[in-house]
Symmetry: C2
Subunit: 86 residues, 2 copies
């Protein structure tokens, strides 16, 4: 599983490519909030530029509750992209 | 089709709810680039807060080429969420 944070898209692309090259048939890319667009960028760059033999298997969206330091709660959207070898 | 731009999430939620209330069985939510996370927020708020009878039918990601004023090209990721009545 690759969790998308605030690093550059290319660093996550490298992480995904490395997992496939290490023999994984599937890699799950997960992001929350504003990192969601970066997760889509990562999947698209992997598929279009680096690994034509990999495709998107499934995409799911959801909502997670995050609890702040003061105990206050907020909802944040999440996105999961499962990529697999063809 | 609801195209997600820079307005508040709630304005897009209202647009989606209005389309369903006007008799559409399906509504397509589309976004590019950094608006992608707002598209996910919109779908999640519609489904969880306003319309429990609506579900996500399909999610697609893609890449579009945009051409700037000077003719320079750039790739941008896109996301399409199809929502439908259960």
């Amino acid at each position: 599983m690759i969790y998308i944070g605030n690093k550059s898209v290319m660093s996550y692309v490298l992480a995904v490519v490395t997992q496939f090259n290490n023999g994984f048939d599937e890699v799950l890319i997960k992001a929350r909030g504003r990192a969601i667009s970066r997760a889509v960028d990562t999947a698209e760059v992997v598929r279009n530029k680096f690994m034509p033999g990999v495709e998107v298997k499934d995409i799911k969206i959801g909502t997670e509750q995050i609890v702040g330091e003061g105990g206050d709660k907020a909802n944040v959207s999440s996105l999961e992209i499962t990529m697999k070898t063809k």
